[in-house]
């Protein structure tokens, strides 16, 4: 039965990988070939189409981990532990990419790799620190508590995400006026469309990664069980 589940999940991840690939290609073509060039910033503004969706996707990943954490505490099923761990790993990857893309943008726009008054960069740095600690915690807890503590921490960490966002915003808005705010709700439609496509692509990438990771973990544990059965 687990065999079947693994195989089905394998199919699912292949399907989502395909969706992610197609959407990404469409998004890249659309962003660079179709979307109009920004009047002020020129070509560098294109990074915004990836920077922001990647950032949002990492929050989605952490949100998924939080929900999986609640379910893990409720059901005590090891399945949710796998989901939340995989999800936080991918979330961290996306958060890292957010910082990298944000840094490139900051460098191109202002000549500095880092600006503390860029609220997104600052917030994601804090978020990375919070979620990196997850893996430190995980590796230093004994196996019988690992799933439970991971779940608890996934919930605690996600609660601190909005707090970090808000705190960084009030801090920067009182110290400096916010300068880095060229993006936001008032995008022209021709840009907004490609922004949404890109966001969809990033979410599909996340789902594909998550399913792949889960398939791999499942396969590994089936393999371990098989080996044990052989040994016995």
């Amino acid at each position: 039965m687990t065999d079947l589940a693994v195989r089905l999940r394998g199919k699912g991840s292949a399907l989502w990988a395909l969706v992610a690939a197609v959407l990404s290609v469409v998004a890249i073509c659309g962003v660079f070939l179709v979307a109009p060039e920004d009047a002020d910033q020129g070509i560098i503004q294109k990074i915004f189409y990836f920077h922001v969706p990647i950032a949002n996707t990492s929050l989605v990943a952490f949100g998924v981990a939080c929900v999986a954490g609640i379910l893990a505490l409720r059901t005590r099923s090891p399945r949710w532990d796998e989901v939340l761990t995989a999800s936080i790993g991918i979330g961290l990857l996306f958060a890292g990419l957010t910082i990298v893309s944000g840094s490139i943008w900051a460098r191109a726009s202002w000549g500095h790799w880092w600006r503390w008054d860029d609220t997104r960069l600052t917030t994601y740095l804090i978020i990375i620190l919070i979620y990196a600690a997850f893996f430190v915690l995980r590796s230093s807890v004994e196996a019988d508590r690992r799933a439970r503590f991971s779940a608890i921490y996934a919930v605690i960490a996600f609660a601190s995400v909005p707090l970090s966002f808000y705190a960084v915003r009030i801090a920067t808005s009182f110290i400096h006026p916010v300068v880095f705010n060229s993006h936001g709700a008032n995008l022209p439609d021709s840009m907004l469309v490609w922004f949404i496509v890109s966001q969809a692509a990033m979410l599909a990438v996340f789902i594909a990664f998550l399913l792949l990771e889960l398939t791999q973990r499942r396969t590994e544990s089936s393999l371990r069980r098989l080996r044990l059965a052989l040994d016995a």
Binding site: I130, S164, A171, F174
Partner: protein, 229 residues
């Protein structure tokens, strides 16, 4: 014999107080550490002439955040070293009462430190009026302490069962504390020195209240599972 949570809470807090009064390990070390941190700040950042008034909030709260790590790290030390934890866990104590008792102990440590450190901040670093607003400063400290206490008790309970807990604790605790440090430092800056911006102060304090409430809810939702082996 129906155990009452308030009686249990009082007993647990009294126990921590008695242990601390007997050994006095934690509070004295925390106070020394806090003063030391402030001295290091002065020599790290300032020369004799420079005025650190506008950094007062940051100075105070970075100091207190690191000092809090010490207090949080010590909060289960008696249970661990004297091997009493099972004794508490087999007693009919709601797990939330254990958490609140630890949070109160942490808040107690912090208040003991702040009573000395906040006036010292005025003496060491602040140019201009300070003493008129010291009541506001203490109030914001108290609100922030509640948040630190709740989160600290929760994290300390997790760290209790980990390897290398002395290392793990700051790594887990400080990132979660960043929003609190931002807001508490903001509140301090709003009323320290010649600044006296009560609107800003109120906003920061409301954030600190929200922080404590949010982590209170998270603790309420998850704490039962910490000791549920």
């Amino acid at each position: 014999m129906k155990p009452r949570p308030l009686r249990q809470l009082r007993a647990l807090v009294l126990k921590d107080l008695r242990l601390e009064l007997r050994t006095r390990d934690t509070v004295i070390a925390m106070i020394l550490f806090a003063v030391l941190a402030m001295v290091l700040f002065q020599f790290g950042f300032g020369t004799r002439q420079s005025d650190l008034t506008k950094f007062a909030g940051g100075l105070l709260w970075v100091t207190l955040a690191f000092t809090a790590v010490l207090g949080v790290g010590r909060s289960y030390v008696a249970e661990r070293e004297q091997r009493v934890l099972d004794g508490l866990l087999v007693a009919p104590v709601p797990r939330m009462v254990l958490l609140v008792a630890k949070a109160i102990a942490i808040v107690g440590y912090l208040i003991a430190v702040e009573i000395l450190v906040v006036p010292l901040l005025g003496v060491f670093f602040i140019n201009g009026p300070f003493w008129s607003d010291i009541g506001w400063l203490f109030l914001s400290c108290l609100i922030a302490d509640v948040g630190i206490g709740i989160l600290g008790a929760l994290i300390a309970s997790l760290a209790l069962f980990t390897r290398a807990r002395e290392l793990l604790l700051p790594v887990l605790f400080l990132p979660l504390l960043v929003p609190l440090v931002i807001a508490a430092a903001g509140a301090t800056n709003a009323v320290a020195g010649s600044a006296h911006d009560l609107v800003q102060y109120r906003n920061y304090c409301l954030f600190l209240v929200g922080y404590a409430v949010l982590f209170g809810l998270v603790a309420y939702a998850t704490f039962e599972a910490v000791f549920d082996d």
